[in-house]
Symmetry: C2
Subunit: 349 residues, 2 copies
DNA sequence: AGCGTTGCAGCAAGCGCTTTCTATATACGG
DNA sequence: CCGTATATAGAAAGCGCTTGCTGCAACGCT
């Protein structure tokens, strides 16, 4: 059998209670006793039984991080920052926590199931990252779950996700609308009047907000949008490639393509190049997020930098109760326009 | 208080044992009874207590995935594939498992601590991804942990990691040596004789194997390597940029730069461009891994494709006992040379 | 009719830990 | 010196679930 607390206690000639207290360090134990116990633990190579401990203490040291797509650096970067703050091992003092990231793959059911699993494990905290799915039923279900988690003592933090009112969850949202607007205004400022837009999946808050910002900019400058100028797709390169081809087919006179994110923008660049168009001389391209590879594109990508790591770190700290929640439980995180080589003045038409 | 099994039992007018059996579906229960129980579960919105269940059953539904850097798509892609197979929720039938990915950040201590945490949680399986750290003490500690996990019933699978003999762990290793050799041979075949090499961090198996492959190719063609041609760095773009500048400083006559991975190669491309050199006319560049963005580089990157997703999926299946382990518990996964625009014949010297 | 099967359900004993309460020993003030 | 704080250790009662075993009908066989 595996070594138990009792074995350690026997070896150290103390009661199990004392061993538990030494291990948790939440009760005075004489230095000499502590040493004896620690020695026994070491000698027996004892490893605490997590489930038993969680059961008895009615809390666990698990912290969940939900992401839509773990293969996407957008989420990878946030998850990494969150996890670093959760402490995981290697973090600083305090109870060691197992920060785990769960990949929902963008599926509503998975999202919910993971939340249940986390609830089942009596997670200490949960951080939900990325845009939410805009489906009334699903949102209601999510809100209910979140509320229940909160009631059970699990701290819930939303990072890069719109607030969920009345659920008690702290929200750190990205100002996707503002960023989208700023980006398109930059393009308009350069002289563009015919701008294609490659949006993300339809029922996502991120998609909608970025698109709204784009449209707000157009509206602010009296540019009437042609419905043909918007195409929806996934948040990946492939989708950007195809959507760009489609855009070009619909209206070859476009002088700029705004993409839902950097990966999509890269796909757009590839499609433009393959169509014999130069960037930015013939068509300007803009992305969103400013992921690490964006600067390496040729020409480098004009985009909106989102402070992914910073926001993640903050979310992690809040989840651990090491930083105060923002007033009202909601904070909006702004992006920063990064003007680079992929955007320029439009070609003479 | 939260709802417990007993509450459900009371409501369904059966014993707790019966409820447990309905939930686990591992014991015959009359259909009518089952329905009554399920109804009660639903009405009370009951969620199983994970720790209690794990304690009583002496196993948990946790599966750990250890990665070196979650923000790196190399790991993200593998993790994603593994997780998809583990089932997480959304997967197919069978007990639902919580697949969690743990980010070691490449730190030996974290790696060990996470393993302990997973052991503490009585994880059902653990998948270790990526290169191992070459430090005798650390390796011994890891091996001991892995062995212990195995003894405790946790299935351990190594994915893209060298085998750990006598630990009982199944290993799916990447043929980094072979891939590295093939890549360099391609360059030599094009006529290159002065090749710079940007290696990864010193004490990593992946770094060493790729470098060994490179050197084997040089040796096979009677090319004597100048020690100045090798620079070590991290596995990121920045490091590739700096290393390339250093390489150029040491020997401007180099006609090719082989990078430890694609990110590094991208950095190398940037450095070359910034130095006024054309790719591949002046200097050829090659990467490793074939991450999604590699094809988007301009020119697109010659590299060695590693079947990250496939290997991950297989590792996941093995971890779940849904696929047989390879004979001897070890399988080598080969990479595939992808010749693209970044490599060409060397310039006339 | 008698009796071994079979199919379902319940009993109850833990799983290994935490924690409240109690006990003992030492220290302190008067 | 004694009564009472003050440390420190132990006893024991669970935490909520699983599961081996027992119980009891209904069933089929000879």
């Amino acid at each position: 059998m595996t070594v138990t607390l009792a074995d350690v206690a026997a070896r150290a000639q103390v009661s199990p209670a004392t061993v538990s207290r030494v291990l948790n360090g939440n009760y005075p134990v004489a230095a000499s006793t502590r040493e004896r116990v620690l020695k026994a633990v070491d000698e027996l190579d004892y490893v605490l039984n997590g489930p038993a401990s969680a059961l008895a203490a009615a809390t666990s040291d698990l912290v969940g991080i939900l992401v839509n797509d773990i293969a996407d650096p957008f989420f990878g970067i946030m998850a990494s920052a969150i996890q670093a703050e959760i402490g995981g091992p290697g973090g600083r003092a305090g109870g060691e926590r197992l920060a785990v990231v769960c990949n929902t793959g963008g599926s509503p059911e998975r999202e919910l199931t993971y939340l249940t699993l986390l609830q089942r494990q009596r997670a200490a905290a949960v951080v939900l990252t990325g845009g939410a799915i805009e489906d009334a039923a699903h949102q209601a279900a999510m809100d209910a779950k979140v509320r229940k988690l909160g009631e059970a003592g699990t701290r819930v933090v939303l990072c890069g996700r719109p607030p969920a009112p009345d659920t008690g969850a702290i929200a750190l949202t990205f100002d996707n609308r503002g960023g989208g607007q700023e980006l398109t205004e930059h393009l308009i400022g350069l002289g563009h009047r015919r701008l294609g837009y490659i949006a993300g999946p339809e029922e996502r808050t991120t998609t909608r907000h970025r698109l709204e910002g784009h449209r707000a900019a157009l509206a602010a400058h009296g540019i009437e949008e042609d419905p043909r100028w918007t195409v929806h797709g996934r948040y990946d390169r492939r989708s950007g490639y195809e959507a760009t081809l489609e855009l070009l087919r619909r209206d070859p006179s476009l002088t700029a393509v705004v993409a839902a994110n950097d990966s999509v923008a890269l796909g757009a660049c590839a499609a433009l190049r393959d169509s014999g168009l130069r960037i930015p001389e013939d068509v300007s391209v803009a992305g969103f997020d400013d992921l690490p590879f964006s600067i390496d594109a040729v020409p480098s990508l004009t985009t909106v930098r989102l402070p992914l790591a910073e926001a993640g770190a903050r979310a992690g700290r809040i989840a651990m109760g090491r930083e105060e929640a923002p007033p009202g439980g909601i904070a909006s995180v702004r992006g920063e326009l990064m003007v680079r080589g992929s955007s320029g003045v439009p070609r003479a038409s």
